[in-house]
Symmetry: C2
Subunit: 385 residues, 2 copies
C-alpha cells in the first residue's frame, strides 16, 4: 500500500478537494440501506482513490506482459448511503490513475437533486471530455450502486432479469510456456470453459498444449493478432476442429472489409472486442462480426452496456460479457447483465490476490449473483488495512 | 355499463375462472404500497374485464369512423398490491374483447415466484400465441405497475429518466367538415401542436381549414393513404411549406422501396406507424423511414417499447410515442418513456368521456407525469359505479 499512498499524494494535488484520504471517508461509509435518504436536501458527493491490483500470475497477451493493474476506486455518498465504483486501467488502453483523477475531479454530482436521473447525469458526465471510458465507468458503477440501494433492489431485478439464468464463465489461460500452461489448465479445474489468448506465433502450440490435458470447450481471443484474412479464416477452421466456441477480434480493429469477409465465411462466430467499444459501435459491428464483447471499462459503465446488450440482441447478434483485471466491484456490476448473454468472461477478480470487495462469485464455474441491493457488493476486511 | 355487463357475461363463459366480476375483485383492491409483499408465498393473480370507451366526438380516420372503442382492463394482484393494465382495441387492428379474453385466459401468472422477472415472464406470455399485441400489452402494463409498486418507484425513475424532460403532446383533429374542424381547433387552444389525419381526397382542404384559424405546428398522419411515391413526395413538400413537422406512414405498410425513395428525398421526417409494430420492425424501418411511432398496443407493452426506443436511438432514428383511444391507464404507462422522445401524441384519454383512471395529465399541452409508483395511476370514482 506504500506505493498506492505515494501515487495518491500525487493525485491529491492534481485533483484537489474531490479526493478522499484512504481510510477516512471510505472506511466510515455507512452500510445501512434505507429506501429513501433521511434528508431531502441530501447532495451526492464523489470521492476516489488509486489502488493497485496484484496479479496471481504474470499476465501475457499479444502485446504486453504485466504483474499488476492500476485501478481507481470511487464512492458516491448520498443521504447515508454509499455507492461503490471502479475504473480498471490496463496500460495498453491509454488511461492511467492520473488521467482518471483528472477526469473525476471535473465531476460535480452535487448539482443533481436526484441520483435516479441516470440518463441525464451520465450524459452530462460523458460530455465532460472525450475518451476516459474507465473513469466514466467508475462514476456510472458507483451511481448504479447508489441508485439500486435507493430502490433497495439489485440491478438484475431492476432490469427484470432472472438471476437463475446466469451462464458459466470462461477462465483465461495466458500465453506462457507449455509446462506453465498445463499447470494453469489443471488449476482451472473448477471452470467449464477456458479462454486462450492467441495472436502470436505459437497459437497452435497453445491450443495443442491445452488439448493435451483437457477436452473442455475453449474460447479464443486473438487480440487483433492476425493480419491476413485467408490465414485468419484458415486458423478459425483449424480452431473449430479443436472444439473452440468462437474467436474474439481475429484481425486489427481498423480492418473492416476483410473482417466482414472472414465473418461471412467463418465456421465459428466472430466477436468484436477492440472494434466495439461503445453503443454506436454495435451498429458498426453489424455485418462485420457475429457478435460483440461488452466490457464496462469500454462502454463507460452499466447504463451504456445495458443499451448495447439490447441493441445487439435486436440486431440478432451474439453477446459476450468481458472484463479487465478488476476487483469484485466492477465484476459484480457487469454480472447483473449476465442472465441475458451468450458467453461470459468474468474471471477478472479471480486473477488478483488483493480483491477488497465481495459480491458476485463463481461457483463451480458459474456466475452467482448476490441478493444485495445495487451492484450487490460489500467491502472485505482487506479494505480496512 | 349495461352493455359492458352483457359483453362481460359472454366473455365469462369463454374465459372461465380467470375472469373477475366487475366491482368485486376490482373494487376491493388494496391500495397500500409496502415495498415487499407480506407473505413470501404470495402468487400473482390476473383478472380482467371488458369496458367500452365513449368518445367525445365521432372519430374519423382514412379507413373508418366510430363513437366508441372497446378495451379490456386487467389487474394483477400480488401480496396486497394490485397492478393495473389495459388493452385498447380499435376495430381496424383485428383484436376484440373476445380475442383478448381468450388470450388472457391462457395466461397463468401463478407459476412465477417473482413479479420482477419481467424478461422471462413476458417472453413466455409472448410465446403463448402470435399476434394479440393489445392483450399482451394489458398483461405487460399491469405487471409493470405491480413491479414498480414492489420497487416503490415510478417507471421513469426505474428507467433513469428525468420527468422534467417530458414533451408537449399533439392533439388530434379528426377528418370532418370545415366548420367542425375549425370548432375542434378552437377547442384545442390548450395544445401547442395539432395532429391531422390525412390520406383522403380532402387533405389540402383539411390543412387549409386549420391554417385559416391557427399557425400552430401540425403533424400529419396519412395512415397509409398515399399510394404514388411522387405524389406523396409532392404532398410532403406542400405540407412543409405550411409548417407541418413530420409525416406519419405516408404510404401503405407493405411499400418498402418506394417509401425509402420518398424518405431519401423528403424535406420532412417520415415516421413509420403501421409499418413498425414490434422490436424487429425497428431494424426493418432503418433506411426506409426517418423514425418510428411507438405505441404500447402495437409493441406488446412497456418492456418492448422501451427496447424499441433504445434501439431506434442507437440507429439515429427519430422516436415518436403514440396511442390508441385509451384510458389514463395505458396513456400513463406509455408516458414514462416520454422524457426520451422527439414527439408525443398521447391525447387518447382526453378524447373519451368515461376515463376511470387518473395518472399522467396534460397541463398546458405538456405531459405531466405522476409521482406515484408503478405506472402512477389511481382509479377514479367513476370506476366504482
Amino acid at each position: 500500500m506504500a506505493r498506492d499512498r505515494r501515487t495518491f499524494l500525487k493525485l491529491s494535488a492534481l485533483a484537489g478537494g474531490a479526493l478522499a484520504l484512504p481510510g477516512s471517508t471510505f472506511a466510515s461509509a455507512q452500510q445501512a440501506h434505507p429506501s429513501r435518504p433521511a434528508a431531502r436536501t441530501a447532495r451526492m458527493k464523489l470521492t476516489f482513490r488509486p489502488y493497485t491490483l496484484e496479479l496471481k500470475h504474470v499476465f501475457t497477451i499479444a502485446v504486453s506482459s504485466r504483474t499488476t493493474t492500476p485501478v481507481v476506486l470511487t464512492e458516491i455518498a448520498y443521504g447515508g448511503l454509499v455507492g461503490y465504483g471502479e475504473a480498471s486501467m490496463p496500460p495498453y488502453l491509454g488511461e492511467t490513475q492520473e488521467t482518471a483523477a483528472a477526469f473525476l475531479s471535473k465531476v460535480d454530482l452535487s448539482r443533481y437533486p436526484d441520483p435516479l436521473q441516470l440518463e441525464t447525469i451520465l450524459a452530462d458526465i460523458d460530455a465532460l471530455a472525450p475518451g476516459n471510458q474507465a473513469a466514466k465507468a467508475a462514476v456510472d458503477i458507483a451511481l448504479h450502486d447508489l441508485a439500486g440501494k435507493l430502490m433497495n433492489r439489485p440491478w438484475y431485478d431492476i432490469w427484470g432479469f432472472d438471476k437463475s439464468h446466469t451462464p458459466y464463465t470462461s477462465f483465461t489461460i495466458g500465453i506462457d510456456t507449455p509446462d506453465v500452461v498445463r499447470q494453469k489448465v489443471r488449476e482451472a479445474a473448477e471452470y467449464k470453459i477456458l479462454k486462450v489468448k492467441l495472436g502470436r506465433d505459437n497459437d497452435k502450440e497453445m491450443i495443442e498444449t491445452i488439448r493435451s490435458v483437457t477436452d473442455k470447450p475453449i474460447t479464443a481471443d486473438a487480440n487483433q493478432g492476425w493480419t491476413d484474412k485467408q490465414k485468419a479464416l484458415d486458423m478459425i477452421h483449424w480452431l473449430k476442429d479443436r472444439n473452440v466456441l468462437f474467436v474474439e477480434q481475429p484481425m486489427p480493429k481498423d480492418v473492416v472489409d476483410d473482417m466482414a469477409w472472414v465473418t461471412e465465411r467463418s465456421p465459428l462466430p466472430t466477436i468484436a472486442d477492440e472494434f466495439c467499444q461503445r453503443l454506436p459501435d454495435v451498429r458498426r459491428a453489424y455485418g462485420v462480426f457475429s457478435g460483440i464483447n461488452i466490457k464496462l471499462m469500454k462502454s463507460t459503465g452499466m447504463r451504456e452496456a445495458h443499451k448495447m446488450l439490447l441493441v445487439a440482441r435486436s440486431l440478432g447478434m451474439k453477446v459476450m460479457l468481458g472484463c479487465m483485471t478488476e476487483t469484485s466491484c466492477a465484476i459484480s456490476a457487469a454480472s447483473h447483465l449476465s442472465p441475458m448473454i451468450d458467453w461470459a468472461d468474468l474471471d477478472g477478480a479471480v486473477l488478483i490476490k488483493n480483491d477488497i470487495f465481495a459480491g458476485t462469485t463463481i461457483v463451480d464455474g458459474r456466475i452467482k449473483l448476490s441478493d444485495k441491493p445495487g451492484i450487490g457488493v460489500t467491502k472485505t476486511t482487506l479494505s480496512r488495512t
